[in-house]
Amino acid sequence: MTFLQSRLRWGFEVVEAWLDRIFGPAWNPLYQLGALGFFYYWVVAVSGIYVYILFDTGTTEAYESVEYMTVEQWYLGGVMRSLHRYASDGMVLMMVVHMLREFALDRYRGARWFTWVTGTPVLWLVFVAGISGYWMVWDELAQYIAILSTEWLDWLGIFGEPIARNFLAPHTLDDRFFTLLTFIHIVAPLLLLLVLWIHLLRVTRPRINPKRGLAVGTFLMLVALSFVKPAISHPPADLTKVPGVLDLDWFYLPAYPLMDHFSYGAVWAFAAVLSFMLFALPWLPPRRRAAAAAVDLDNCNGCERCANDCPFEAILMRPRSDALPFEQEASVDANLCTACGICAGSCPTSTPFRRASDLVPGIDLPERSLPVLRERLEAASAKLSGKTRVIVFGCDHAALVESLGSSQTGALSLPCIAALPPSFIDYVLSRDLADGVVITGCRDGECFNRFGVDWMTARLAGTRDPYLRKRVPRERVLTYWAAGADRAALAKAIEDFHTALAALPAAPPPAKMPRARPTASEGVSLDA
């Protein structure tokens, strides 16, 4: 499993690097697969409404109405039909690649099980919606799908009479059947929307719309494709004949050739095992979960920063339960916490300068606490020598930094780069623990913990609390976002940074630097 994941991850990172160059991180389609899926959904919905206006329910009327919109009204009805088809295909592609990518990046375990598991029924609903749509055209392809689908369902033996008997001859087929199909074709996407809402319940600020430029490009692509290769029908269905050669939509209908070549029971077994595997994947094999973040009420002033920064809705603010004179306190839902540490990185009390009292942040990871990070930092610094000493702070899910260590470079990895309070950078430089600091994490636009890179970038830029203090010499801080596949590039960037640091005038001695004191926004009230 791990081998498969690492190979897939490597593949994704290579393609993503190319797409970063072409689209830029903000428009990279692989960073917005879920949002693109939603976008395709809306294209399907809007084009579907138009197609439905022209569609007639009836054994002969269905085909005739679809032919009318395809041939007579090709410039609008035909384009809408094609948009409906290709955007539906796009949904399947986005859905499958999205699942594969989340699997490759190991973003389906632990607290993320809920989002993975609730995404699984989406597969079924998308296929039900798509297949019922193909059925409605009532051409040879629809006939083929109808007969195989009903025979497949009949295999279960749950119907009073085999439903495939409805398709024995033209006279056995009722117009009302198309009314039922239309109902299924409308209800399935509505249910899909409901399941998608549940799918995103545990995701803070879910990205459900792609960036405008990407949306425009995608839509233009669909329109162009609709003109170049419009969706057309097969000859009309004829139940007295067996369709021979069919132009299958392989996005939606790959199960049908399987039904032709294997027994219906085997296809049911395959579908059941696949569904079960997908549902159970977060626990296959069971893995120990890192301990959830813990709140230390004596150091929590209820500032809400941790709750605002948490990407997984794991922190709630609730009325104070102790005697301290604050209105709220943070509370962690351990079931939702992924132990990314972003909350600790945002806490105003997470400052390593604290000497009068122990470094006990208001919120921290029990297994990877900030006091331990400070100890590791000081130990790494003590080992450094040479003219340009550099400390690298990295992320467990990006380019691995710990192997980049040398006599001049000390490297520390965190569960997320945003788990690093910016005051640690100040601490390194003001206490002369190193001559430069490198901040690295997942690629821009694609953070394992969703917002880690964004929050860290904003903190460094001084646009999101906690800020990196202005006194920190920016020329001594390098940010370089790098995925696992970019490790060599990161090593080169660090090497260049050493060269750049060597060219800088010597840093003022630490004794002359003003004493670091948390600002009001950094929670001075508790930093005594």
Binding site: R165, L225, P243, V245
Partner: protein, 174 residues
């Protein structure tokens, strides 16, 4: 990358994705059935006779029943299995005793099966027994049928209309 080159490269990526959608939405073509062969579908949902005939209750038996449940006859729910035989050019392709459906064995016996056969002319015989008789059949239909390539011949049974129907032969006859 200069912006013009970037937009050009984006156009190439969009074209590749469009090509992916356009191709796999209809290709490669799939051959579901051999164009020289035909399909025979047997479809049947028919209830056999009750396992026992209805029995007239005696006066004492009727009196022993609760007043709201008194009736003249006692009819068993269970049905006999239905024996079905399909013979194509003297070769028996189906010979099966089909049990009644339902938890209490009181539903219709059901068969739905497909057979792929070469196109051509066949003598087709369909027989069904739904009674307690031990020999012979209650319904028999024999006919010479012509089955064209890719044609679907449906063998249906409708007791209320007299028994078996062969869709191809019956259509030709009508």
């Amino acid at each position: 990358m200069p912006s013009v080159l970037r937009y050009l490269a984006q156009g190439v990526v969009y074209a590749l994705i469009a090509g992916l959608f356009g191709y796999f939405a209809t290709s490669p073509a799939y051959r579901h059935a051999d164009t020289q062969r035909a399909k025979l579908t047997l479809s049947l949902a028919h209830s056999g006779d009750p396992v026992h005939p209805c029995r007239r209750l005696t006066r004492e038996e009727i009196a022993a029943l609760p007043p709201n449940m008194r009736k003249l006859t006692d009819c068993p729910r269970e049905r006999l299995p239905v024996l079905v035989e399909i013979v194509l050019d003297g070769r028996t392709i189906v010979s099966r005793s089909v049990s009644p459906s339902g938890l209490f064995g009181d539903g219709p016996s059901q068969i739905y099966e497909n057979f792929e056969i070469p196109a051509g002319s066949y003598s087709l015989a369909a027989r069904l027994r739904d009674s307690a008789r031990s020999e012979g059949f209650d319904y028999v239909r024999e006919a010479q049928v012509e089955i064209a390539p890719q044609q679907r011949l449906v063998i249906e049974f409708r007791a209320e209309s007299g028994g078996f129907f062969f869709s191809a032969a019956d259509r030709a006859r009508s």
